[in-house]
């Protein structure tokens, strides 16, 4: 049999096959499969697979130390949430598991040269040698050695003081603008060299806050939970989240906080609302009285741009709705208000009798040090260090960072030669300004310590347990100190060789003291330390997310209260910009702003572009916000790029208009920087913070500025 296949047969077959195929499900299934296949290219990220588990730790990204529950897949955290019911993590905390993968994470030590886009890879040994050489030079008289600690109170902080104890010219200072920095002024007023008190915000009925971001977690007060029982009066020039949340907002002009505080004191005394028995008869009180005599409510109101009734009402509320407490805060991005303003503000507590009282300033025992009473290098404030005198600055940003103008540090460096070495997980923030940066393990890759935060009424400690293995190349800060000690011939006694072993020593001391309790975040249950047989049990409880708290000790040792903090009549001297009228034409007051959460870390998750770039919620760094009336008077429209000029230089900024901004003020978003959000930028590049030249009081909360075309 022979088939006679013609061309026509082939064509008929092909046509029939095509029609038949089109009528079948096959091409449509192929289209569906093609759609699915093209959405699974190899470069499309695949979520992880693996066993699901829940682990607990403590957030170490700011001093608050919120308990964290981590959802893990295959042992890797994929989501973080608050471990205690009813609480919530901030945007920084809930994205903390992204930080070990941050694009600007340091994978090895680097040397940074100004102007070079990329840092040069160096070895940690080289950095140790250079640091040791600088130490030897300092000992030979080339200058002093300063360790700038961005998270004071840790065991590592103590270790730095121990390391440098043998160097006469060495000091350890807290980085500028950290939370609680303003309490140094209260320290001076209560005549103590180291803080042995806390702020009992939780038991206060009225809180008068000058710039403290209380609604953002400052002082670890859960304002949302306390709304029914506490009244908040916020004094600050910006309509911040705290000002919006406050029961009353006093929009005092920048730099006039002292005037407002002194006028409130004037009312308290004039109306006999306070008992001054404890303060009368001291030299400082006579000076104080002479100062506040010059700040009548009318005068202060005119200076601050407030109504006199606001000052009267605030004073009366403080006196009648106690216990009341008055705090001076550090504005995120803007830093402290300065010693005179802080003294005037905290002086109200002394006047109200808030010291050593529930709901006020309470005494607390200090957290035990990790080591014995060996000599320690003294603590100092950065502004106490003479300018141009420092040969070596070591910035310990291994546990966090701060937001401050670099000029505060730069002015201290010796012109004869100086070295800046930073320890940080990221090449951003303080580390980007150093000569050398050494990589340390970030949050979740190592044990971090959360010592007593500045406002806590009792000593406490929590540990942030690691959820990830430490990546190769990361340097343990205490191990780095040991290397420096060996290279520089410094004595660093003690068995501890790593951060973990040092913290264990501290925990062991706490256990030996046998007091206090460990509270579990899961159910709030408390276990007495005395019931834990070994320090390992205490260690395990802390690593499981628990927090040790000392027994309350509300009794402060007798002390002289210095209501002017030694300033005397200088307390009444206000910054020039607060009183100079009229001001030069076109002069504005530049007020930096940031949010508390992202100001505590040198790097934040790139996902936070949702807040800073992909929406207008927080504004991106370098955005200047002006009142429309002020803009119209200067001839500017919204959306323009203008030049912002201060005494420190000029920078192009984008202009936005907002009726909520005080006329005559330009608010500038200062953090987080683009490098903090993950963008690759030249390290040490100029930032908006460089325009904020600190005044004589080492403050940068308000500086004079001009906006120009271009």
């Amino acid at each position: 049999m022979k088939f006679n296949v013609t061309r026509r047969d082939v064509l008929r077959f092909a046509g029939g096959a095509a029609i038949g195929t089109a009528l079948s499900p096959m091409p449509w299934n192929l289209t569906d499969d093609l759609a699915i296949w093209t959405q699974n290219w190899s470069w499309i990220p695949k979520p992880p697979k693996g066993e699901r588990a829940t682990r607990t730790t403590v957030c170490a990204l700011c001093p608050a130390g919120c308990p964290v529950e981590a959802r893990c897949i295959g042992g890797l955290p994929v989501a973080l949430r608050a471990a205690n019911d009813g609480a919530a993590l901030c945007p920084l905390g809930m994205t903390g598991h992204h930080l070990p993968h941050h694009p600007n994470r340091l994978t090895g030590a680097v040397g940074i040269t100004r102007g070079e886009r990329r840092p040069a890879a160096v070895t940690t040994d080289m950095v140790v040698r250079e640091t040791a050489r600088a130490i030897r030079s300092a000992r030979a008289g080339a200058g002093s050695v300063v360790v700038l600690d961005t998270r004071p109170g840790r065991s590592g902080s103590w270790a730095w003081r121990r390391l440098l104890a043998g160097i006469d010219s060495a000091v350890v200072a807290a980085a500028p603008g950290l939370e609680g920095a303003s309490l140094a002024s209260l320290d001076t007023m209560l005549d103590a060299r180291s803080q042995s008190f806390g702020l009992d915000l939780r038991n206060a009925r009225t809180i008068l806050s000058f710039g403290a971001p209380v609604a953002e977690g400052w002082g670890q007060l859960d304002l949302a939970a306390a709304r029914e029982s506490v009244r908040l009066v916020q004094v600050e020039p910006m309509r911040s989240r705290t000002a919006e949340s406050a029961d009353r907002w006093l929009p005092a002009r920048p730099g006039t906080e002292a005037a407002v505080a002194l006028a409130i004191a004037n009312v308290l005394l004039a109306e006999g609302l306070v008992d001054t028995t404890a303060l009368s008869g001291t030299d400082e009180f006579d000076s104080y009285l002479s100062v506040i005599a010059g700040f009548s409510p009318d005068r202060a109101a005119a200076i601050a741009g407030l109504a006199p009734d606001e000052i009267f009402a605030t004073a009366r509320e403080l006196a009648s709705s106690g216990p009341s407490i008055v705090v001076a805060g550090e504005q995120p991005g803007g830093g402290p208000l300065g010693r005179p303003a802080e003294t005037a503000i905290f002086g109200l507590n002394l006047l109200l009798g808030n010291v050593d009282r529930e709901g006020g300033i309470v005494g607390r025992t200090p957290l035990p040090a990790p080591g014995d009473d060996a000599p320690l290098t003294p603590l100092a404030r950065l502004d106490e260090i003479p300018d141009h005198s420092v040969a070596l600055v070591i910035i310990d940003a291994s546990a966090g960072d701060g937001v401050y103008p670099w000029s505060l540090v730069a002015r201290k460096l010796s012109p004869k030669g100086s070295l800046v070495v930073a320890l940080s997980p990221f090449l951003s923030g303080s580390a980007a300004r150093a000569n050398f940066a050494v990589p340390t393990p970030p949050y979740l890759e190592t044990i971090h310590e959360l010592p007593t935060s500045f406002a806590e009424p009792v000593a406490s400690i929590a540990l942030s347990a690691p959820l990830l293995p430490t990546r190769s190349g990361a340097v343990d800060p205490v191990a780095f100190m040991r290397s420096i000690a060996r290279a520089a011939g410094l004595d660093l006694a003690g068995e501890w060789a790593t951060t973990e072993s040092l913290i264990r020593e501290r925990v062991a001391r706490i256990h030996r003291a046998g007091s206090g309790t460990v509270t579990s975040p899961a159910d709030g249950s408390a276990t007495l330390v005395a019931e834990l047989s070994t320090s390992d049990e205490l260690w395990d409880a802390l690593l499981a997310g628990g927090r040790w708290s000392a027994a309350p000790s509300n009794t402060m040792p007798p002390r002289t209260m210095r209501i002017t903090g030694g300033l005397g009549t200088a307390l009444g001297e206000l910054p020039t910009r607060a009183t100079a009228t009229p001001r030069p034409t076109g002069t504005l007051t530049l007020v930096p702003r940031a949010t508390r959460d992202t100001s505590a870390s040198a790097a934040v998750s790139p996902v936070l572009t949702k807040l800073y770039q992909e929406s207008g919620l927080r504004g991106s760094t370098g955005t200047a916000v002006l009142n429309p009336r002020t803009a119209a008077s200067l001839g500017f429209a919204a959306g323009r790029n203008v030049r912002l000029l201060t005494a420190a230089g000029a920078m192009r900024v984008a202009l936005m208009l907002d009726e909520g901004v005080m006329p005559g003020v330009v608010e500038i978003v200062v953090a987080p920087e683009r490098s903090a959000l993950g963008e690759k930028t030249a390290p040490g590049a100029r930032t908006v913070l460089d325009l904020l030249t600190p005044g004589n009081e080492q403050t940068w909360s308000a500086v004079d500025a001009q906006l120009l075309e271009g």
Binding site: Q39, P47, V78, H101, P606, S615, G616, L617
Partner: protein, 244 residues
């Protein structure tokens, strides 16, 4: 969902939690407010008065899960669907061809387009939520009330032999993350639920109600000037006030 605008302080925790839960990638350097991906976006509006009488309100706006969604009727691909069980308006990425008609149709600006393939920094893909698929370029995406969490709650109920899920097991990420407890979520059809009662309160309102989309997201505020904003386009108002 009912959002209490008198409690919302604009912290952005809801927007952040949403991005983490739903594998929304970080922005490229060139992205801005128009091209970004923000399933939950918090807008700021004001009472229009001058300083110091100026007051702000923060509006978290996600897909309003309309009962009569305009996006469903315009989609040529049937890539948008209203679930008869939950009332959630779901977006099906594998069917979407990226014409963006739905984005034009949505009066709430609650839909976002993937202009590029998603990219996370090296290693960060290990932090992705395995319960949510990653979308590729060319498709639209939007809030779906954390559908994966609904699935997980259903699975948990089924494993326990129950037909209905436990409301406590199905909480969208934004609700869980809010520190002020400003967002309440639940079954609007259950008159005993907190969300149903809040939605019926005198000070509750919906955005652009006159359009007849019947959103399932309600807002409430004791402030009359906030309630008057209901008929304004919040996104446009913020833009006009700040950028001219």
């Amino acid at each position: 969902m009912v959002i209490d605008l008198d409690r919302c302080n604009g912290c952005g925790a809801c927007a952040t939690a949403c991005a983490v839960e739903n594998n929304v990638p970080p922005a490229r350097p060139s992205a801005n407010e128009r091209t970004g991906l923000t399933w939950q976006r918090v807008y700021r509006a004001s009472n229009g008065r001058q300083f110091p009488e100026n007051r702000s309100v923060y509006f978290p706006v996600s897909c309003q899960q309309c009962e009569h969604p305009p996006c469903v009727s315009v989609c040529p691909q049937n890539a948008v669907d209203v679930s008869p069980e939950t009332g959630v308006v779901s977006q099906i990425p594998v069917r979407c061809l990226g014409c963006r008609y739905c984005m034009t149709a949505c009066p709430y600006h609650a839909r976002y387009f993937n202009w590029f393939d998603p990219k996370w920094p090296d290693g960060m893909e290990t932090t992705l939520n395995p319960d949510v698929s990653v979308r590729m370029r060319g498709v639209v995406e939007k809030c779906n009330f954390c559908h994966s969490r609904w699935q997980a709650a259903k699975a948990k109920a089924a494993a326990a032999g129950k037909r209905d899920l436990d409301p406590a097991d199905y909480v969208p990420a934004c609700v869980e993350a809010c520190p002020e407890k400003a967002i309440v979520f639940g079954n609007l059809d259950d008159p005993r639920s907190g969300v149903a009662k809040s939605a019926k309160s005198a000070n509750a309102f919906r955005l652009l109600e006159k359009l007849g989309t019947e959103p399932k997201v309600f807002y409430r505020s004791d402030r009359a000037w906030v309630r008057r904003l209901a008929d304004a386009d919040v996104a446009v108002q913020e833009k006009e006030a700040t950028r001219g």
